[in-house]
């Protein structure tokens, strides 16, 4: 059954995907939703497999689950056994579970290992109209292809393994339209940080976000992934962009993309799954893309950000209910109210993550890196999102650009985004980071500090040892 039938009211992509995957309505009002693609990794799956074992259940659709190792893998060497014995134990456990249940595992030896949200799209596993689940909150990334992608916990990973389904309450859909055109030197990262700044870190609770309008239409799929990736940072359950010719061009020829006649059938279905003109949305938000500039976070959640030429909030100008949170953030960050973000000193620069670890991110960072050398006293890491990204970057000579500028060129993984491997901040270090979270302690030191920004801005900060406007170096 194609979800193509249009109704007079017009349906959103979200409505069509949800209805097409609905197995049944449950007595409690929730929906039993079929999950088309399940991605797993070493951190949130072992307990799920153990629960499955305890219940005596097999994996229902082993061909619809794919695995990789990303969170804990060291980025200095992936040689087995891994130098970190806990990481080795976790990777071995995943290997065992995949072998036992007949699940395809993209390990380093396969040449396809990488961050789960980078490899799904680059292998063509992620396609329009799918429901996708993974035991990782940044699963929202996959919505860039026009699918509905949920981050879930371990008990739900168990549910998907056992039944290929989830119980879910249907969120409402908010259409976020960004009009106009982005200025030169302004990136997808700046767009999503600005959206979260406007709507708040909990503004999306109860919503699926549909990103629409000329700015998203003009974006490459990699840029759309950066935007959808951080939907969760705005509190939304998922985020997506309607599929279009750019989506199809990205997918064509990828390993798991349909081929031949199947490709043409897929195109028909994918085109029909997009939101219709006149579709009903529970809420609309509109932003002017031309007004967005390079954006940097100054606080301890991703909504606490300013434009690179702005100053930090002044406490007495804030509403009473916001003051305590801003004060707490400034105290933790050791930044002063009203100070400019420009010039803030950094100790570490991290380029990578599921938000900004793809080839286009590395190209933009390398454009900046060509303009100088990493500032003395700054530790700068470039961690490609996958082996495929690393191969492409090396073919273009980007690894040499980074190395000769004084950056460390590492093996693929999540690395210092959440520091579950040896890549960590030390003490009170301040990190310019292309990742997604600036939470207290996020980058591995309980007192470490994070400034989120685009990869070009991170590279610029690395060269100067402080926050600068990357547009001056591009």
């Amino acid at each position: 059954m194609a979800p193509a039938a249009s109704t007079p009211l017009g349906r959103t992509l979200f409505d069509k995907v949800w209805d097409a995957h609905s197995v049944r309505e449950l007595p409690n009002g929730q929906t039993q939703l079929f999950i088309g693609l399940h991605l797993i990794h070493e951190v949130t799956s072992p307990q799920a497999f153990a629960m499955l074992h305890d219940m005596g259940l097999p994996v229902r659709f082993p061909g619809r689950t794919f695995a990789t190792v990303d969170h804990i893998i060291p980025t200095d060497s992936q040689l087995r056994p891994l130098s970190d014995s806990v990481a080795e134990a976790m990777m071995s456990e995943l290997e065992r579970n995949c072998r036992k249940h007949g699940i395809r595992f993209f390990d380093p030896a396969s040449g396809h290992q990488g961050i789960v949200h980078v490899i799904g799209p680059e292998l063509g596993l992620t396609q329009p109209g799918m429901t996708i689940a993974c035991g990782d909150s940044h699963t929202s990334t996959h919505g860039a292809f026009g699918g509905v992608a949920f981050g879930v916990g371990t008990s739900q990973v168990r549910d998907v393994l056992a039944t290929q389904c989830l119980t879910l309450s249907r969120p409402r859909v908010r259409r976020i339209e960004v009009t106009g055109k982005l200025a030169s030197g302004v990136y997808a990262k700046d767009v999503i940080l600005t959206i979260i700044r406007h709507l708040g870190v909990n503004g999306g609770v109860g919503f699926a976000y549909e990103y629409a309008g000329p700015v998203f239409e003009a974006m490459t799929l990699e840029e759309r992934m950066t935007v959808c990736n951080m939907s969760i940072e705005g509190g939304a359950r998922c985020g997506y962009v309607n599929p279009d010719e750019s989506t199809f061009a990205y997918l064509r020829g990828r390993e798991f993309a349909p081929k031949g006649e199947a490709w043409n059938r897929a195109l028909t279905w994918w085109r029909a799954i997009a939101s219709e003109a006149g579709a009903h949305y529970a809420d609309h938000v509109q932003l002017d893309g031309a007004a967005i500039g390079p954006t940097v976070t100054w606080g301890i959640n991703p909504g606490q950000s300013v434009g690179v030429d702005e100053r930090l909030p002044i406490l007495r100008e804030l509403p009473d209910k916001e003051r305590a949170a801003v004060e707490e953030a400034l105290l933790y960050m050791d930044l002063r109210p009203g100070q400019p973000i420009l010039g803030t000193k950094i100790d570490v620069a991290f380029i990578g993550s599921c938000t900004n670890g793809r080839i286009s991110d590395l190209r933009e960072a390398a454009r900046v890196a060509r303009r100088g050398r990493v500032n003395q006293g700054v530790r700068a890491l470039v961690v490609p999102g996958s082996h495929a990204v690393a191969r492409q970057a090396e073919a273009e000579g980007l690894d040499e650009v980074f190395r000769s500028a004084g950056f460390q060129w590492r093996e693929p993984g999540c690395s210092m985004c959440l520091a579950m491997n040896p890549d960590k901040l030390i003490g009170r270090e301040m990190c310019a980071s292309s990742s997604n979270r600036n939470f207290k302690g996020r980058q591995g030191s309980p007192t470490g500090r994070t400034l989120l920004m685009s990869p070009a801005m991170v590279a610029a900060a690395a060269l100067h040892g402080r926050v600068v406007d990357a547009r001056e170096l591009l």
Binding site: G135, A262, F439, P446
Partner: protein, 209 residues
Amino acid sequence: MSNAAAVRRVVGRGCVLRGDDIDTDRIIPARYLRAITFEGLGEHAFEDDRKQAKGDHPLDQERYTGSSIFIVGHNFGCGSSREHAPQALRRFGFRAFVGGSFAEIFFGNCVALGLPCAVLCQEDLARLMDSVELDPEQEIVLDLEAGTLISRAGGMRVEIPDGARHQLLEGTWNATAVLLDAGPAIEATAARLPYVAGFVAPPAQPSRS
């Protein structure tokens, strides 16, 4: 069909943690996710915050020892999807959460563990926090059936989305059994989705099974 213990009421003492947007990295730092089980997580709940508070964190304050209802602010549990967060808090001793609002993945993870997350309006939450801080010995009754929370601050209406409330009340919060009940309807749904078979059949064809 119930498949787990029904959760109708949670009765116990409260512990107040003020502040909004408390993320799951703070609840359980990522270094404790380096394991293949959830064992031993309880002692590391809020570890970094507690170290920095030098014994003055609510989880370390003697007056809250033995509390089972965690009273929190807005958007509690935002960030990472790690189920390790509610697992750690349950192992620490909490059986229910009451707050201004909850991040959705955290909320879903709690339901999957039989832990209710109840929402109070701003005014009631402020009154409850003040009351429990002044009198931490008091008994609090969270009644899911009646949708109320009773403490010395008075009776209050709590909000729990219907779906989750029913799962807890009926003891169907372990979703696997409920999902399995759909039987072949799962395969039938898969057969209607053209991508599942790799778009081998024309998309308008009815299901083959």
